[in-house]
Each structure stands twice: as structure tokens, then as C-alpha cells.
Amino acid sequence: MNPVSYQRASSIDQAIQMAAGGRGRLLGGGTNLVDLMRKGVERPSSLVDVTTLSDAIEETSEGGLLIGAAARNSAVAAHLQIRSRYPMLARSILAGASAQIRNMATVGGNLMQRTRCLYFQDVAGARCNRRAPGSGCDAAGGFNRYHAIIGASPACIATHPSDMCVALAALDARIQVAGTRGARTIPIVDFHRLPGERPDLETEIEPGELIVAVEIPPPRFARSTYRKVRDRASYAFALVSVAAGLTVRAGRIEEIGIAFGGVAPKPWRAFKAETALRGGPATSQAFEAALADELADATPLPGNAFKIELAQRTLSAVLTELSGSDR
């Protein structure tokens, strides 16, 4: 690990100033950044601790919630409003990492966490376009079970690993950021970028900008949940995960939100499938057909081709459960 200086920001303005021009790297709980520093993937020379910024969880005037970027993952998952009104969000967080890591991890850090691709993490032994642009991608011909089946590019097939972000995507959350050029709000579905030719550019955030809060609109689903699929029962990233919310009235789908984890370089909001399903019948045939369309452009690899069927089955099971049509 390289020598590094450490400062603690006491206000948003101070944090912006300390991090201006990308001089200081923001530090949340450190559960991802510090690991990557130990591995030499990240080599910041200065850290700006932003865990002192707002960690409040408050109701907004429009009836949604505003979550401070420094809120710990476990605090968000335990929050009564979130558990009762946004169960998919609480469940997605609890499905991730371990209790200890969730106690440290912040909402800002979770949004910004980097891929778990084995080749991305191996500075000494592997090529990776995301870590070292232009060097090549060793994952494509290597171990890619955890990699993307959709939204990837020849340059990079890595997935975004977050569970929380998948629920945020289905909930249409908005990310509030602040920087030297002022404040702005970015919809979560636009927040993470697809790799294209530049996998190293991971989010819409500019150097020196920071996440201040996450805004969640008022609940729009009668029922919602999160289901994560993995070999190990706990403490493993998703092979496939589904965040879904549903309102069914008289057998017709009135409102629906679906996002996938583990299948794409970003939390994958299934807009196509939602459009196909909205207003239609809540039957498993409809669910399956809609998703087949959504994944028609999938580009699986030998190591992860099983995810197409897995995603389909998981989504279908989740929607069936939510629509109560199994009863």
C-alpha cells in the first residue's frame, strides 16, 4: 500500500474543496476502497473522509425519502420507513456482504463501489481495460461466471456488484451530487455508465463531485421484494438478482418496476419488459415472454450462459410471488 494522507471533511463545501480536481479521494466506510488500495488497484495519495456528512434518513415533501450519503448500509436496512414502505430496498441491502461490512459501508460508497472482476483486482497478473485502459481484457477468455450477459462491450464484461443499487434502480431513485460547479440530480438509471470503449469511466460523476444524498420517490408498488441467487447462502455476490415491485388490479398489471443485478455492467432496469407487461395480465406466460424480449440482445459467454435462463426463471418466480397468482 502506498503512503497516503488523510483528512476529515466537516461540511459538504469543505469536502468539495478538499477533493477539488480529483486531488483527494473520497472515503466512506473504506470497505471497498481500502481493499483496492491494499491490492494496488487504487493508488490515491490523499483521502477525504466523508462519513461525517449527513447520514440522516428523512421524509421528503412529496412523500418520498431522502437518505444522506453517509448513512450506513445497516442503518438504511433497519429503518422502519424503509422496511415498511420499500421492502425491496431493505432486503437488497441485507442480502449483501456481511453484517460487519454493512455496518461500515455507506450509501455513497455502495453506489460507487467497483467491480469484483478477478482480473480487475489482480494488478500484477492480469490485463484489464477498466483498471488500465487499453491493456486488454483477460476476463473474456477466463473466469467470467460473475460477468455480464447484457450491456457489456468487447472492452469490458464486468458487472456492477451492488445489491442496493438494483433496488434503487427499480425504485427510480435519484442521486444528488454536489461539486465546484454546483449541485445536480442524476437518475440512478443514468448514474452508472455502460463500458463501451471506456470502461474506466464508471459513473456520471465528475472528478471532484460527491454524492450528497439519495432521493427515493413515494412508493408506487403494492408489493415489492428482492431475490438474490448465489451458490453460497450468504456473503457472496449475486449470480443473478431481481428487484421487483408490482401493483395488480383485477388481474391486470397496473404498475411494475424490475431491475436485475449480476447480469450487466450496471443495475439493469428492465424497461422493455416493464413496458410489455404494463396493462397486461399478470400470468407467468406473460412474465416469461416479456423477459425473453428484454434479454434478446444478450451476449453470453461460456462461463455465464446459464444466467439467461436463471434470470428468466428468477424473475418469473418473483413476479408470480408478488402477483399472488400462485395462490
Binding site: M1, R116, Y119, G125, R232, A233, S234, V240
Partner: protein, 770 residues
């Protein structure tokens, strides 16, 4: 081992076949089998309170004055040569005391590989350690930095620049199979066993199965990372190590650094998990050399990444198992062949076929292992090397055959239960596997299993049950020494350089010594973990307990003689000989006439002695050669497989063991359960991701190498026959490794019962079940 050694072992076995059993160790059963007080009692581990309070000092925690810290640099290429080595930036970095590479590392020889002949031969690799620019595997140590703090050492290590000329390496298992070697022996057993014509019998058999099973590589993941704290004191060397082989390591280091045995002291009072991985590897040697160059004590604790790079794990295997059976299900052919990795500089043959020889009767056998040579960190022993994965292949095949014939898999096993060793014809010392099955099946509720696969459901879950046999050979190591000091106040100290890896070594030997010496457990101290004590055996092969016990038996015999001599002619026991007495209630008493007795206190007082000390070595373990001696088990598993996702969740696991006398139910249950949990990892999640393109391990972290998490571990039930082995000290056999054996097969068999899908490649991951 060579062909000649094969011949020697075979002829010793033949001779022993003619020698009456009474002449051998264990010829008459150990009297303590019937007469025990502390042994067999539930007792908590003596080291428990110290560990819970954080007071136990592990090797990388020992404090020393002027201590400095080392960090390692690993090769990032697989085969090649260092062509440029720039250490200037590292040398100039803050706090750096030394950068050591092949250029300035003291010149030393190579380690002798672990064998069973020379007790200082404990190397896991015979490659030179930082002696030359050549690189032989990806992850090999190429440089070490010593600095004032760990952080400074780690940072400086990252500043070393190295260029390599790269050669084409052998990294592909399938490609290397063509050039596989067929060794003459596997450990001390002949490798190729051919009885009758198995292929022909197979061709004729009305029922047969013939399949290939694959198991991946595994890495060691003890909680405690490998670590040493090393100090040169004058010309002598003190090494605080995390090791399973204290005395042999001291000998090996002495040899390597040109010292006398007495000049090297290895201390290892506690080891935070060994499982075969805590042997002598490059890091101890590098730390010793670095400490000499900086003339200060050096601590080297490996990172988790370093453990993956430089400590070998379990070899991957490809195994063929074929079984032919007649109409009644009696085996006419048993074939077990396959491939595993063993580079010429490695020591571990991954003996996956050894267990197969003793499990079933068959008209014919064809058994042979082939070694694939790859440029990798040499694989090593890992909990139940061989048996853990060998039983996966064989016990799945049994289940497949039972299904094909249409009989219960336990019944099929019962029909093929051998009454003597199926290959050597040696008698079993004791074997009650059939009873273990019967007891286990009853407790588990095996009768509720539906033979038809996929017949039980609960919502989206398919439910299945499976079972499998586990097996592990008995071993007692030669050359185990102990010293016993008996004091006039009725207390005794037993000393032996034994190892405590958390299994309860001291606890159980205190129980044993108490009964052996006729004293209460509170009167006994067991000193261990230090090579300055009488040389104990290594902790490996599930053999430490009986090896130390055998030495304590021998020393007690000597002590008895010594006490009888001291008692002299004025004692109530005068005239009695060692064979006529027993040690009981703090003294010596006649066996036939217990009223003739005298207390230790009285004997020593009359002889004007404060204490009496004896040392002895255990007898040669000839019982191993005359008898077939194995621990065995029946493992039962019930699990669920999601129809939606293919996820496997284990609901119940039961192990029914036949391992001789259980010396302490509490520590034994922990060993069994720990082994079974490791078996769950083997079955469902563990896999070293070795990239055959680069020769590099890609998942060198616990985040990416998945051992079972708490949620993966169900309620585990263990039980045992408790039948004593008449041929072993205390009637005990090994229990440390048997727990992992059979588990992977029981899981895979239960998966088949749940889904109708036969998974022959470990781990059984969800994609294989979609």
C-alpha cells in the same frame, strides 16, 4: 518411494503376517481400554479460557526487542528467469533495512521432501529458495523486504521492479495428462494394484457403472495466517512458528543453515488451524535468512494472498471409477484410476485411491494413480488428502450402481462389506461400518427416503436424501518421544514437542496420562509446543494422539520399572514385576492382589527422591503393517434444491463414526463437525480458480474463494460406535480427518435423490442443476 522401498514394505508385511499378533504392539489390548476414568469423559479444552481471553500468543504475536518486519514479493510469471531486478527505490524507501533477493540471500541447500524415512525431511518443495534467477511457478517468492514497520515493508516491496524472460510453462491439466507418470508407490503403498482382470469382469457384469469424476484444486484457508517470528541468539536460532511439525522443522532448519540440532529451537504452542498446510515452506527459510542478514529479530506474517501463492493446496483430480456387479449386487470388478498433479519438486501424491482398497470386497480390482507434472506451487496435504476426494468418486459410483440395480445404497454396501482387507487379506483390527450405518440410518430417519429421484417437494424446493461412506487409515508415527516426571507430591508432568492446532492435544493427553499414571487430571501437566522438549511426532495423518499416547505408554512402562526398583525390598510391592502391577490411585498396586500397594509419595520418600524422570519412545508401529486399520463413517445428508434457481441448501447432516475409543466426546465432536463443514465446502462451493493461460490463481482471497458461511451450515449431528480397537493405544484411531471424507458424495447423492441429476464435477454449483 522407489520400487525397492515397495519391496521392503511388502516383505515386512509378509513376515509380519506369520508373526503371532501377541508379539506385536497392541498384541494384548491396552488395559486402559477397559479401565478408564478420565478418558472418554467430556472435558472442555484446557486452552479454551486463554484463547477466549486473547491471552494465547500465536507465532506472529510474540513480542521481541528490536523486532523488524518482512514482506514478500511473488513472481508474476510462471516459468522463466529474472532478467532485470531494480531494488533501488525499495532500498531508499522509508524504514527499509534490507532488500533480499537471490543476489544477496545467504547460500543454502534445498529442503529434503517430506517422506517417511528421515524425520528432518519435511519440505513441501525441493526447489531452491531465492538462490537463483530462475522462476518455477507463478507466485514463487523472488524478493523480501525487511523494514521497521509492516506497512513500510509492504510499501517498499511494491517498489521493487522485476523483468522476466518468460518460458513456455506447463499449466494445462488436460494437455499434461499425455505425459503423466505412473509412480511405483503412493506413500508407503504400492501404486498399481491389479487383482484378476477387472476390465474383463466389467464387460461381463450384468450391472455396471463407469464414469469420470472431477474435483477442482483447493487452497488452505486456516484462520491464522502462516507466520514466523525469528531471532538469532549468538549462533543459535529461535523460531516462533505456526507449524504442525515442530521437531522435524527444527531438524530441517538446522540442516539447511548448517547448525547443530541443539542450536535450533522451534516454538509453536498454539496453531490457529493447520489442516496439512502448516508445514515447512519458503517463508520460514526466508525469515531465518533475513534475520541473519539484518542481525535483528524478524517477523514474517503472510498475507492471505501470499498463502494462496506460495502454500500449496489440494491437487485437482480426474478420476475414473467403474464398478461391475453380479445379479445380487456383489462386486465383480472395482476400477479406480485417475490423474492428479504432482510436480517432481513436490511431496504430496494426493492418495485418492488408497481408501478404495479397503472399502469393498470385489472379485477383481484395477487401481492406479498417474501424476501430472505442471509448473505450479507444489500441492500438499490437505485434510484427508486423497480420501476426501477419492470417496467422492467411489461413493457416488456406489450410489449410481445401487440406483441402477434398484436396491438401497446401504444394502448394496452391506452386501459388499469385506471381512478381511480385500487386497492384502490382512485382518481388520476392528471394523463396524455396517453398525455405524445401521445406527446412523435409524437416527437420521433414512427409511423416510424415497428411492425414486425427484419425488419429494416443498413449494419450489425438491428434497433429497443421500448417504456415503467415509474412511481414513490409522497411523501411528514412529519416533514419538515423551518424558514423564513424577513428583513426590503426586503430581506429574508429561513433556513432548507436540502440536496444538486447536483440536485438544493437551486436553486429551492429560486425560490419558491421568488414567495411565493413576492420578487425577488436576495432577497432570502436559508440556508441549517446543522443540526443546522430547521430539514428538508431527501432527498429521490423524496420528498425533495415538503416536503420543504410544510414547506415554512406553514411558509409563519404564516409569513403573523405575518405581519398582526404588520401592526396593521393604515395600509391600517388593518382588512384583512390571507385568504384575498397575498404577492406580496415586501408587502401584498388584493386579492379582490389590492390597499389595504403595503410594508414589511413600516410594519416593523412602528413596529420598523428590521426583523421578523417565524418557521413552513409542514402540515401532508394526500393528499398522500386520492389521488393516481404518477409521470409517457413514454420512447422511438431507437437502433442498430450488426448482427455480438450482440453489442447493443443506438441511441436515449426520455423521455416524466408527473410530475406536472416543477419548473426549466434546473435542471429538468438534473434530467431526469441523471436518464435515469442510466437506460441505468441498461439495458445494470451494474451488481454486487456476487460470490455465497464465498459471495464476485468480481467487486468492476469502471474498472470492468460498468456504461455507454460517448460513450454509445446518444442524450437524454426530454419533459413534465407540468400539475400542484392540490393536491401538487406548483403543483409539484417528478422528481429525475422517469427518471431511464421504461428505461430498453424501451431498451429491442427495442432490441426485432430489433432482435426478448426477453431478460428477465438484463443486455442485447451481448452474449444473438448472
Amino acid at each position: 518411494m522407489s520400487r525397492m522401498q515397495n519391496a521392503v514394505v511388502e516383505s515386512v508385511k509378509t513376515v509380519l503376517g506369520w508373526v503371532p499378533a501377541q508379539w506385536l504392539p497392541g498384541g494384548t489390548p491396552d488395559p486402559l481400554i477397559l479401565r478408564r476414568a478420565a478418558i472418554g469423559r467430556q472435558a472442555s479444552r484446557l486452552d479454551g479460557p486463554e484463547k477466549v481471553r486473547g491471552q494465547a500468543r500465536f507465532a506472529a504475536e510474540v513480542a521481541m526487542d528490536r523486532l523488524c518486519y518482512a514482506s514478500l514479493v511473488h513472481s508474476t510469471v510462471t516459468l522463466g528467469r529474472i532478467t532485470r531486478l531494480d531494488t533501488a527505490n525499495a532500498e531508499a524507501a522509508p524504514g527499509v533495512i534490507l532488500v533480499m533477493t537471490h543476489r544477496n540471500m545467504p547460500r543454502i541447500g534445498t529442503l529434503a521432501l517430506i517422506g517417511l524415512t528421515d524425520l528432518s525431511a519435511v519440505g513441501n518443495s525441493s526447489l531452491p529458495i531465492m538462490q537463483e534467477p530462475a522462476v518455477r511457478y507463478n507466485g514463487q517468492v523472488v524478493a523480501a523486504v525487511v523494514a521497521e514497520t509492516q506497512e513500510e515493508a509492504d510499501h517498499a516491496a511494491s517498489l521493487i521492479e522485476i523483468d522476466y524472460a518468460v518460458d513456455t510453462a506447463k499449466t494445462r491439466f488436460d494437455d499434461a495428462k499425455d505425459k503423466a507418470r505412473t509412480p511405483a508407490s503412493i506413500l508407503i503403498e504400492k501404486n498399481h494394484v491389479s487383482v484378476g482382470n477387472a476390465e474383463r469382469e466389467l464387460g461381463r457384469a450384468p450391472h455396471r457403472v463407469d464414469n469420470i469424476y472431477r474435483t477442482p484444486g483447493h487452497n488452505h484457508n486456516a484462520i491464522e495466517l502462516h507466520g514466523v517470528t525469528v531471532a538469532w541468539q549468538g549462533g543459535s536460532l529461535v523460531v516462533h512458528d505456526a507449524t504442525q511439525m515442530i521437531a522435524p522443522s527444527a531438524n530441517a532448519l538446522a540442516k539447511l543453515f548448517g547448525l547443530k540440532k541443539e542450536q535450533v529451537r522451534v516454538l509453536s504452542p498454539f496453531v490457529g488451524g493447520g489442516f496439512g498446510g502448516k508445514g515447512l515452506w519458503d517463508h520460514q527459510v526466508v525469515a531465518v535468512a533475513a534475520a541473519r542478514l539484518v542481525d535483528r529479530p524478524v517477523r514474517l506474517m503472510l498475507s492471505r494472498d501470499s498463502v494462496y501463492r506460495m502454500i500449496g493446496g489440494r491437487s485437482p483430480t480426474e478420476q475414473r471409477v467403474a464398478i461391475g456387479a453380479d445379479a445380487d449386487g456383489q462386486f465383480t470388478a472395482l476400477v479406480h484410476t485417475g490423474y492428479s498433479i504432482m510436480p517432481p519438486y513436490g511431496a504430496c501424491p494426493e492418495q485418492y485411491t488408497l481408501g478404495t482398497r479397503a472399502l469393498y470386497r470385489s472379485k477383481s480390482f484395477e487401481i492406479v494413480q498417474r501424476h501430472v507434472d505442471l509448473d505450479v506451487v507444489p500441492n500438499t496435504f490437505m485434510r484427508a488428502p486423497g480420501e476426501a476426494i477419492g470417496t467422492f468418486a467411489v461413493e457416488c459410483a456406489i450410489d449410481e450402481l445401487a440406483h441402477a440395480i434398484g436396491i438401497d445404497p446401504i444394502e448394496l454396501r452391506r452386501r459388499n462389506e469385506p471381512d478381511r482387507h480385500p487386497i492384502s487379506d490382512a485382518p481388520f483390527s476392528q471394523r463396524a461400518l455396517t453398525q455405524a450405518y445401521a445406527d446412523g440410518a435409524k437416527r437420521f430417519g433414512w427409511e423416510r427416503r424415497l428411492a425414486e429421484p425427484g419425488a419429494r417437494h416443498d413449494g419450489e424446493w425438491r428434497i433429497g436424501m443421500g448417504c456415503a461412506s467415509g474412511s481414513f487409515p490409522y497411523a501411528r508415527m514412529p519416533g514419538a518421544n515423551v518424558r514423564i516426571t513424577l513428583r513426590r507430591d503426586g503430581s506429574a508432568t508429561v513433556s513432548c514437542s507436540a502440536q496444538e492446532m486447536g483440536m485438544g492435544t493437551a486436553t486429551v493427553q492429560v486425560q490419558h496420562a491421568a488414567d495411565r499414571l493413576g492420578l487425577p487430571v488436576e495432577a497432570i501437566t502436559f508440556e508441549m509446543g517446543d522443540s526443546a522438549l522430547p521430539a514428538g511426532p508431527m501432527a498429521g495423518g490423524s496420528s498425533q494422539t495415538v503416536s503420543v499416547a504410544g510414547a506415554i505408554m512406553a514411558a509409563t512402562e519404564k516409569l513403573t520399572g523405575e518405581l519398582l526398583r526404588l520401592a526396593g525390598n521393604d515395600s509391600p510391592i517388593a518382588g512384583l514385576r512390571a507385568g504384575d502391577v498397575r498404577l492406580v490411585d496415586g501408587g502401584i498396586a498388584g493386579i492379582n492382589d490389590p492390597s499389595r500397594r504403595e503410594s508414589y509419595r511413600s516410594i519416593l520418600a523412602r528413596a529420598a527422591r523428590d521426583e523421578v524422570t523417565v524418557s521413552a519412545a513409542g514402540s515401532a508401529p508394526l500393528e499398522m503393517l500386520k492389521f488393516a486399520m481404518h477409521s470409517s463413517s457413514a454420512i447422511f445428508c438431507e437437502l433442498r434444491v430450488s426448482k427455480v434457481t438450482g440453489e442447493v441448501r443443506v438441511d441436515r447432516l449426520l455423521g455416524s463414526f466408527d473410530c475406536g475409543t472416543i477419548l473426549n466426546p466434546k473435542t471429538a465432536a468438534s473434530q467431526f463437525k469441523g471436518g464435515m463443514i469442510m466437506g460441505l465446502g468441498l461439495a458445494l462451493t470451494e474451488e481454486t480458480l487456476f487460470d490455465e493461460r497464465s498459471g495464476r490463481i485468480m481467487n486468492a482471497t476469502l471474498a472470492d474463494y468460498h468456504i461455507p458461511s454460517h448460513l450454509d451450515v445446518p444442524e450437524i449431528d454426530v454419533m459413534w460406535t465407540g468400539i475400542a480397537d484392540p490393536r491401538s493405544p487406548l483403543g483409539a484411531r484417528g478422528i481429525g480427518e475422517i469427518g471431511i471424507t464421504g461428505v461430498a458424495a453424501a451431498v451429491a447423492n442427495a442432490v441426485f435423490n432430489a433432482t435426478g441429476k448426477r453431478i460428477r464435477d465438484l463443486p455442485v454449483t447451481l448452474d449444473k442443476l438448472l
